[in-house]
């Protein structure tokens, strides 16, 4: 079959209803027949991905066979819970709130993270400062691997930022990952207690670029939106009637105390552009053709393609099942 000419609308879903029906039927088959479970547990954060995942799960199993679990902790934005409740009300789903702060304190999640942050900024303490980690490099301008910086802000609004030494970076990430792993444990508690499946919420970029925590938000039985571009997730959100306030929110990680977008923490590109660039890269379009359609230079597209290659390669281990063929 001849390859379609690259354009800005190349990934737009032409028949949203058909796409939804396909996902819903497959989800029903996988959960009922393959996994032999009777419903779904969805962790809902008030973000677009978990909202669409919940909406699809309700369409597949009926609201009475779905439970939305809210999993706040002391660093979560209060907005997350409010948006998640609004979503659950819209789809008529029962919700359970499980505050995981105590579990995280038991793991010393905050203490381990703050120890590393204090080694970078001795004046830092979690009472007087908010913090986040981010990438400052521009992926369109250069082919260079990501380096993370720690940014802190005090109560007067004074911002300080420093490149993170590797030891502190690894400790902060490892400590923060307790959050996703605690959530996964709690979702499996409710799934097992109800004989349901855990419905994972990562989208295509999160899965393929490795923007998830292994055995954290990557720990699920099925991932109904795991093959959808972010723009397609938004199209389905509109179609299924996800509340507008959720659709209009900027996607954040809701992991650090300072507001942090997914773009600054990981992707380094707005999702509208990233979707198209990823599609072009994974389908082997020439950088010149992609560049022309997106008003970029071929060099910029080539830089991004190298970043994609690097991310896919270096995050491969996140997607791997445990290796067990040793004889």
């Amino acid at each position: 079959m001849e390859k379609k000419a690259f354009s800005k609308s190349i990934i737009k879903l032409e028949d949203i209803q058909k796409t939804c029906d396909t996902i819903i039927q497959k989800l029903r088959h996988d959960v009922h027949t393959v996994l032999n479970r009777k419903g779904g547990i969805v962790g809902i954060s008030g973000g677009i991905d978990s909202s669409v995942s919940l909406a699809l799960t309700v369409k597949a199993f009926g609201a009475e066979n779905v439970i939305g679990i809210m999993l706040p902790e002391k660093d979560s934005s209060p907005d997350s819970k409010a948006f998640a409740q609004k979503l659950a009300d819209k789809f008529g789903v029962k919700t359970i709130v499980e505050d995981i702060t105590g579990a995280l304190e038991g793991f010393k999640c905050y203490q381990r993270r703050d120890e590393a942050m204090t080694r970078v900024f001795p004046e830092y303490n979690p009472v007087d400062y908010k913090s986040k980690i981010s990438i400052k490099q521009n992926v369109l301008m250069q082919n260079i691997p990501s380096v993370f910086s720690l940014t802190i802000i005090d109560k007067k609004g004074e911002v300080k930022s420093k490149v993170l030494p590797i030891k502190e970076y690894l400790q902060i990430v490892a400590a923060s990952n307790f959050k996703q792993r605690c959530r996964m444990s709690m979702l499996y508690y409710h799934a097992e207690a109800n004989h349901y499946a855990v419905i994972g919420t990562p989208n295509k970029h999160e899965v393929e670029q490795g923007f998830f925590v292994k055995y954290g938000d990557g720990g699920a039985d099925v991932m109904p939106i795991g093959d959808l571009y972010k723009n397609q997730v938004y199209q389905i959100a509109e179609y299924l009637g996800v509340p507008k306030e959720i659709i209009n929110r900027t996607p954040t990680t809701d992991t650090y105390t300072m507001e942090q977008t997914q773009e600054e923490f990981f992707y380094q590109l707005p999702y509208e552009l990233m979707d198209l660039l990823w599609f072009g890269w994974e389908n082997g379009y020439e950088p010149a053709e992609v560049a022309k359609a997106l008003d970029l230079t071929s060099e910029q597209v080539a830089h991004v393609n190298k970043t994609f290659e690097r991310k896919k390669k270096t995050t491969e281990y996140l997607r791997m099942a445990p290796m067990r063929e040793y004889r």
Partner: protein, 79 residues
């Protein structure tokens, strides 16, 4: 200083045994350093050579090859 940098890059770059790195080899273009490798290189510069890169210095021109790193370190030490 140049020898220390050269030695570090050759020791830690992700290369096969028959790949030879010279002072002009493009470390990122050739895929010799990923994000962890690059962060480790910065750590080496901080600990061994007492260089503190700023966010705006993390550009390809300063780190793309052994020659570029040496020039960057010289500039930082002179400042």
């Amino acid at each position: 200083m140049e020898d220390k940098i050269k030695d570090y890059v050759k020791r830690t770059a992700a290369v096969s045994a028959n790949f030879s790195i010279n002072n002009d080899t493009l470390l990122f273009e050739e895929g010799l350093f990923d994000s962890m490798g690059f962060m480790s290189l910065i750590n080496f510069l901080q600990e061994e050579l007492k260089i503190q890169p700023n966010d705006d210095e993390l550009v390809v021109e300063n780190f793309e090859s052994i020659n570029a790193i040496v020039a960057y370190v010289n500039k930082k030490q002179a400042a």
